[in-house]
């Protein structure tokens, strides 16, 4: 997929996007031998999208589709191979590490694993103050006050200040992780499978909290998850990834009511039914996801697509606008534009 003017895709069509990713590529080299050239795992292969202010953009896809790599690349936790990421009209991929620190304060991340993302040797108070100390925010006293405020914001209390991470349950730890991200008053929070490790009843509590916080702090979320139900619930717009490519972008409603890309259609039809009496029609995908080391020519999905045509094997489909906010990269919709 190549970059395209994606401005009109957003709900607030006139507004400038807060974050604009254009043609992001993340290729990891694989050494094959001394005399052979390196092969590349094309984890993210040319992804473009916009994130508007106050919006939640959901990224869905199956394991290995590159959604987490994309999230990490945007925050430069892994240096990108190619592409640009504009935050407030500045390409943050071109800034030096020192200068990027300034932006990182406004671009935060919450990870999936509530157990490994908190230092077991630090008390919760110190964990939450550390980020502020690094960025030189406030005096020691002000930081402590702010941490206690934050603990209350995420539904914990000041008595948890001196506790260690092991004293908390998974749901509580994700609350601490959220508080840590919030401590720097970010604008964008990348949530990488934030609720996936939690039990259903706890997951609901954290999702409600995340929605409340987004409003209160005027945040934008990039919400990465494999769980379509969760993504549909929390997102304004959703991007579907397959094998390093963004194959479809639409508002949450459009995507589930009228999915356009054959992969999205298959993904939605594979969801377990919510009522045992209803018979569900399934689109069965055959075969396995191809290796990102050697992605298929043409459309990345043609090896499993029930509608594959000749052109799909040869030409990479460009993202096309189906309607105002709905875009897909598929040759089936060629004539309609």
């Amino acid at each position: 997929m190549s970059q395209a003017a994606t401005g009109e895709v957003s709900p607030q069509a006139t507004a400038e996007p807060l974050l604009r990713a254009t043609d992001i590529r993340q290729h990891f080299p694989v050494r094959r031998g001394f005399f052979k050239p390196n092969a590349y795992v094309k984890a993210v292969n040319g992804v473009s999208f916009d994130l508007m202010e106050g919006e939640t953009f959901g990224l869905v896809g199956e394991s290995g589709c590159g959604k987490s790599t994309l999230g990490r690349t945007l925050l430069r936790l892994i240096e990108p191979t190619d592409g640009a990421c504009y935050y407030r009209n500045k390409n943050i991929f071109e800034t030096s590490q020192a200068e990027f620190g300034k932006y990182r304060r406004e671009l935060q991340m919450v990870f999936q694993d509530p157990y490994s993302s908190l230092n077991p040797k630090m008390r919760v108070g110190s964990i939450l103050e550390e980020a502020m100390a690094i960025h030189g925010i406030g005096s020691r006293r002000e930081r402590t006050d702010r941490v206690i405020d934050l603990l209350e914001t995420v539904g914990l209390s000041s008595e948890h200040y001196f506790r260690f991470p092991h004293e908390f349950s998974g749901g509580q730890r994700q609350r601490i992780n959220l508080a840590r991200a919030l401590s720097l008053t970010p604008k964008v929070v990348v949530c990488d499978e934030t609720v996936s490790a939690l039990d259903v009843s706890i997951q609901a509590q954290v999702l409600n909290l995340m929605k409340r916080i987004r409003k209160e702090f005027n945040l934008s979320y990039l919400f990465i998850s494999h769980d379509l139900g969760v993504v549909k619930y929390i997102s304004d717009r959703i991007g579907v990834m397959y094998l390093g490519n963004l194959v479809e972008v639409a508002t949450a409603e459009e995507l589930f009511e009228a999915p356009k890309h054959p992969y999205t259609q298959a993904l939605i039809s594979a969801l377990p039914k919510t009522n045992p009496r209803v018979e569900k029609q399934r689109i069965k995908l055959t075969g396995e996801v191809p290796s990102p080391l050697d992605p298929p020519s043409g459309c990345c999905f043609h090896t499993r697509c029930p509608h594959a045509m000749d052109i799909c094997r040869k030409v990479v489909p460009e993202p096309r606008t189906i309607s105002g906010t709905h875009k897909t990269a598929c040759h089936l919709y060629e004539e309609s534009v």
Binding site: E62, D199, S201, A204, L228, Y233, A270, T274, R277, E288
Partner: protein
């Protein structure tokens, strides 16, 4: 026990001896599974669903576990059988598949060898005959180019293919009962749909009973005939899947169903939450175990433990107030906010 019951679990209690004292992880659990039937066991982490299945397979360390009750399989009480007899049942008459396929397969042997091993452990098979049977079973799981796959090592296969191999290995001796412990939790939705179809098809082909352990209500709706909902070591609701989804009776089941965001949930409304968190097994409440988190609790709930009573035909529930709740006449007590 009627003829059609494959297994009958009666008043099973499982106690562990821990540093914090005796912990009862499974408390008075009874259920049965018929031939050609899938029983779903649902609940959140720590509710005892996996311990129940490990008790049936007798996989728990006998030095630190005590059992009470009976597990009747084939007319014999599994809890009273000796290790040599159990070894003949495990993997032959009762098989199990797990969530984590990577650690369930031996990385040093080809998957073909591992399936052949299961066959030869339970019957007189020449290597050649066993290899033929293995190929037949693996082919029936729908793996592409099965003869090639049998010669491969587990790391060469994807998660979905490994789960198919696990299923082939579990079913190669044509068991009467299959215990599936979250077999699709680690898989993607498209692969999950394929594996669920496979389990349903194998169930009717072999006319076997299946105990399907999961935390996902969607998967329950998809595959199960009957469901037992567990909470803190007890079955709190037991019903046919249709009846459960039409009208869940226990407040916990209701909460669990509403808390799960599906593509039908209203994104503008807050998700329904169950207040607080599951109490620790070392500190089990005296009355109803769900009382502290229940919006309908009364004084009776806090002091007296309800029993599993029959509500309507085939639908059992462990709640004092299920009738009033179903009729909508139960007063909703204001639960103080408890933080999870």
């Amino acid at each position: 026990m009627s003829e059609s019951h494959v297994i009958d679990v009666r008043n099973l209690r499982t106690h562990f001896h821990t540093e914090k004292g005796r912990v009862t992880a499974v408390d008075d659990v009874s259920f049965h599974v018929d031939r050609n039937e899938v029983l779903g066991v649902v609940g959140e982490s720590g509710c005892g669903k996996s311990v129940t299945s490990e008790a049936i397979m007798q996989l728990l360390n006998p030095d630190i576990t005590d059992f009470e009750g009976e597990i009747i399989f084939d007319g014999e009480n599994l809890l009273a059988l000796g290790e040599d007899k159990l070894a003949r049942i495990r993997g032959k008459d009762i098989s199990m598949i797990f969530q984590d396929t990577t650690s369930s397969l031996n990385p040093l042997y080809t998957v073909g060898d591992q399936i052949i091993e299961a066959l030869q452990a339970h019957g007189r098979y020449s290597r050649k005959a066993a290899a033929e049977t293995a190929l037949k079973v693996v082919t029936s799981t729908g793996i592409p180019s099965p003869d090639k796959r049998l010669k491969e090592y587990p790391h060469e296969l994807s998660g979905g293919m490994r789960q198919r191999i696990m299923i082939a290995m579990a079913l190669v001796c044509e068991p009467k009962l299959l215990i599936a412990d979250e077999p699709t939790t680690a898989l993607d939705v498209t692969t999950q749909a394929q594996i669920l179809d496979l389990i349903i098809q194998m169930k009717s082909d072999l006319d076997m009973g299946v105990i399907f352990i999961t935390h996902d209500m969607g998967v329950v709706a998809e595959i199960c005939d009957r469901v037992a909902v567990m909470y803190l070591g007890q079955v709190i609701e037991d019903s046919t899947v249709e009846s459960l989804f039409e009208a869940p009776l226990h407040p916990y089941t209701k909460g669990l169903m509403q808390a799960m965001p599906t593509i039908e949930s209203d994104p503008k409304a807050d998700l329904h939450t169950i207040k607080g968190k599951v109490p620790s097994l070392t500190d089990v409440p005296e009355g109803c175990r769900f009382a502290a988190r229940c919006p309908f609790r009364t004084g009776k709930c806090v002091s007296n433990a309800p029993t599993l009573e029959v509500a309507t035909g085939g639908h059992k529930v462990r709640c004092w107030h299920w009738k009033a709740i179903a009729e909508g006449t139960a007063p909703e007590a204001g639960t103080e906010a408890v933080i999870a």
